[in-house]
């Protein structure tokens, strides 16, 4: 498994993508994420075996680990616009390229859903991340990833 870091893309209209890097780069989540407020440091792990998913792994106890997916794969019309106070929390400029990850839930029956309502957004330039709840959209918390 390769450890990767998110990188900026020159096209600010599109979300940044993930690419391989030699060292694990730690992303700070100053507020943790809901239910895991104590998890402040994460790394993003991607590998061919995991594709199209990647893994958001906490370095802080209880070392929570999340599967994530690029929201673009699920909804080509997904709105990647952040509100001003959200950008401020990431220290992101208006045209900053950001990494967006939808958290995946594996159902007991084996299917899976992705949370498009509360994406994790990472500013790779500052290595800071946050999970935003998109009160301004009706995106589903459980978007089906598999056909059941």
């Amino acid at each position: 498994m390769t450890t990767v870091a998110p990188v900026n893309t020159p096209d600010s209209r599109k979300p940044a993508s993930l690419s391989a890097a030699p060292d694990a780069q730690v992303v700070e989540f100053p507020a943790g994420i809901p239910a895991f407020e104590m998890c402040r440091r994460f790394v993003v792990i991607a590998s061919p075996e995991l594709s199209p998913l990647s893994c958001l792994q906490s370095l802080d106890p209880p070392e929570a680990s999340f599967l994530t997916v690029d929201p673009r794969l699920l909804d080509p019309q997904y709105d990647f616009t952040l509100r001003e106070f959200e950008r401020a929390r990431l220290g992101a400029a208006v045209d900053e390229a950001l990494v967006w990850l939808a958290i995946v839930t594996v159902a007991p029956e084996g299917g899976a859903t992705a949370n498009l309502r509360a994406p994790v957004v990472i500013n790779a330039r500052r290595m800071v991340g946050c999970q935003f709840i998109r009160d301004d959209h009706e995106y589903p918390v459980r978007f089906p990833l598999t056909r059941d």
């Binding site: 993508s17 100053p30 507020a31 994420i33 809901p34 239910a35 895991f36 061919p48 075996e49 995991l50 594709s51 199209p52 998913l53 929570a64 680990s65 999340f66 599967l67 997916v69 794969l73 106070f85 401020a88 929390r89 958290i103 995946v104 839930t105 594996v106 084996g110 299917g111 899976a112 949370n115 309502r117 509360a118 999970q131 709840i133 009160d135 918390v141 459980r142 990833l145 598999t146 056909r147």
Partner: protein, 83 residues
């Protein structure tokens, strides 16, 4: 719990820079205006609890991941995934 009575257009101040103001009230509910610094997240409780619960269940079992990835790829079909 602190209980205060507020009329329309009256507010309470919480800590440094958080203000909750009653904009309107009626039979169907109370409309509140909240002003808070950028680092303070403000959410409807039921929405926040939904996301908390989703995160908690998402962090669970990963033993079926290889099978799951196969099914997701199948579902996404011919779309270029992982790019």
């Amino acid at each position: 719990m602190l209980v205060v009575t507020r009329k329309r257009d009256e507010a309470i101040v919480i800590g440094d820079g958080i203000e909750v103001r009653v904009l309107r009230h009626g039979h169907d509910g109370v409309r509140l205006g909240i002003t808070a610094p950028p680092h303070v997240a403000v959410h409807r409780q039921e929405v926040y609890e939904t996301i908390r619960a989703a995160n908690a269940s998402a962090a669970a079992d990963r033993t079926r991941v290889p099978d799951l990835i196969a099914r997701i790829k199948e579902n996404l079909g011919s779309k270029e995934v992982g790019k």
